[in-house]
Symmetry: C2
Subunit: 353 residues, 2 copies
């Protein structure tokens, strides 16, 4: 029987809670595929207990899997022992960089049953293709005279033709399968070197995709369109930082960050891709069993799709859609939502059989 | 009689049209102050005609004024002669840097009569204090092997204790005069050097302002709050790039970028401050007399306020409010709006006399 070797990093806070439900959904959806799950205890809580963030042996062991399901990592932002983004950088970004997750895929689709904060949201259905291994995320910063009145702190955004081209190609290919509309978002009138590189690569790759219509927006203008006319977007391609900002905003206009799924892809398959909800560990509501597991479950759906298990992925998506359709406003616990979705998946799996 | 020496840069596209109306409003509002206006022909159109962007003599001449009113600069974004943000950087950013406009002040207030794109906007009334002379705007970028598949393009964000402290102090002082709530926005879990500097300075300055409650948001999370709960904000302080992004979004949720005014302040008075609508030159609607001059008129109001002419500034604000109240959806030309507002200003000025 085919195997799917899954590494699970529940992480911190609600990350633990929502990944449990995502795993239920995967088990229910898989058919003729054996799911082999290995749990990794990593995150802020683990670090505070053991002093370990992510050692090389653990990294090597994670690499032995087909895919990684991640909940959320990060503890109390006010805890001085966690200052400087030590967990985010040492764990989450380390994984993205070590496993060369250069495509950070973040779809937004507004379900008709879910209210958008927008008065007239229109038909929201787009994907942000965020570069995942370059930009200001590379850690090429530094500071002098730290803590004095003469401190200077620099951060450098690094962009390479190699790094930009591969993610731009991915975005064009995705656009070909969708509504054939690609928007480059940058700030090329200010970040002129990086901006010129991104624009040149988009222009070059566009030649191979004559059917895709291409436009450009400055990142500031893009935020306006995301609230004034989000239905104009199909595929957005952008750098690591702009993608971070736009996808939180996209999640909000698309019905809430509680529904936003993401995939950190290594399309070559050289290392496992990693799937995670866009939301964080939410220490304020952790442990109460009230987190919405839908984003994690949809992330599991993306995981299956990118592992070539399209039918199983479709079953998850359909079950989530049906669950949302049936929502009547009554409160459910995290596991009630997870169970309801898993039940629906099993029901369709049976029909299908 | 007191004089106000005003330099006017209408600039490109609708910039020309809206500054005419802003000047009408200023003339109507000023009482016992002689307005001495000097027009400067600068912008993309001027550059394409003459090859001049901003020469040192013009810069020196601009410096001889009490304040600068700017419309908008920038031509057709697809014109290759204007690539690389040559006008934005050579003119707009050059002025901000040369005149040390370190406080970029951008208020957002939703007028009850104006529809927000948000379903439940609540009471939107906040100010973004955007740093104006540092961050990734400094032009410390570069590229190697340009145009090849081995290109690498870097952009560096520069942040100094000096530069951050002065804008943070300004923001705290502003918060003292408002609802005493200050939010630092950054991305300190990724841009750790710059982020630590900003957070340290905010913590230090907070000690001198014990009545101001302070919080922190990552820039991505801030965009969510701007659509989900914008009424939580009073004063936001942030860097040049994050401020650029957040204020376009703020303009949109606050009823549209057509109402968003801004001031590039040099609070020391060593150089003239510069006031401009947040919107651009809008080549698509330029020359048709249909641009809304309200943002430019409100920018003129900010100009008067920061020139110590508070009563005149208040007259402009009141007249704009009254004009918006009276809007019935019928279309008016740019000069019809400007004339209506100027008439209202004159009417209140008379009452007052
Ligand atoms: C936690 C943080 C480092 C991360 C990022 O900025 O990429 C998060 O905001 C995200 O979007 O996945
Ligand atoms: C035109 C551009 C350089 C400018 C900026 O980024 O500051 C504009 O977007 C603004 O916000 O005033």
């Amino acid at each position: 029987m085919q195997q799917l070797r899954l590494a699970v990093i529940g992480g911190d806070g609600i990350g633990q809670e929502v990944t449990l439900e995502a795993r239920k959904a995967m088990r229910a959806a898989l058919d003729g595929v054996e799911l082999v799950e290995t749990e990794y205890d990593l995150g802020a809580a683990h670090y505070l207990e053991t002093g370990e963030i992510l050692d090389d042996a653990t990294l090597a062991s994670l690499a032995e899997h087909d895919a990684i399901l991640l909940g959320a990592v990060g503890g109390d932002p006010a805890d001085p022992r966690l200052a400087g983004g030590i967990i985010e950088r040492g764990l989450l970004l380390r994984l993205r960089f070590a496993f060369d997750h250069h495509v950070n895929l973040r779809p937004t689709r507004l379900h008709p049953k879910i209210g958008s904060p927008l008065r007239e949201p229109g038909d929201i259905d787009f994907v942000v293709v965020r570069e995942g291994t370059e930009g200001p995320y590379v850690g090429n910063g530094g500071a002098l005279r730290v803590g004095t009145e003469h401190e200077i702190a620099n951060e450098t955004s690094v962009n390479t033709a190699f790094g930009v081209e591969r993610v731009v190609r991915f975005a064009f290919e995705l656009a070909e399968q969708r509504r054939r509309r690609l928007t480059l978002v940058h700030k090329k009138n200010v970040l002129v070197h990086a901006g010129a590189l991104w624009q040149r690569i988009v222009d070059e790759v566009a030649v191979d995709h004559p059917e895709v219509s291409v436009d450009y927006l400055h990142v500031d203008a893009a935020t306006i369109f995301l609230v004034d006319d989000p239905s104009r977007f199909d595929v957005i391609v952008t750098d690591n930082l702009f993608g971070d900002i736009l996808t939180d905003l996209a999640g909000a206009v698309g019905g809430g960050i509680g529904l936003a799924a993401s995939g950190n892809l290594n399309p070559s398959g050289a290392f496992p891709s990693m799937f995670e909800p866009v939301h964080g560990s939410a220490p304020d509501i952790a442990g109460r069993g009230i987190a919405d597991p839908t984003a994690a479950i949809l992330s599991a759906g993306l995981l299956l799709e990118h592992s070539g298990l399209r039918d199983a992925a479709q079953r998850i998506r359909d079950a989530v859609d049906a669950d949302i359709d049936a929502r009547d406003g009554s409160r459910r616990t995290t596991s009630e939502v997870g169970d309801a979705i898993a039940d629906r998946i099993r029901a369709t799996a049976k029909e299908h059989a």
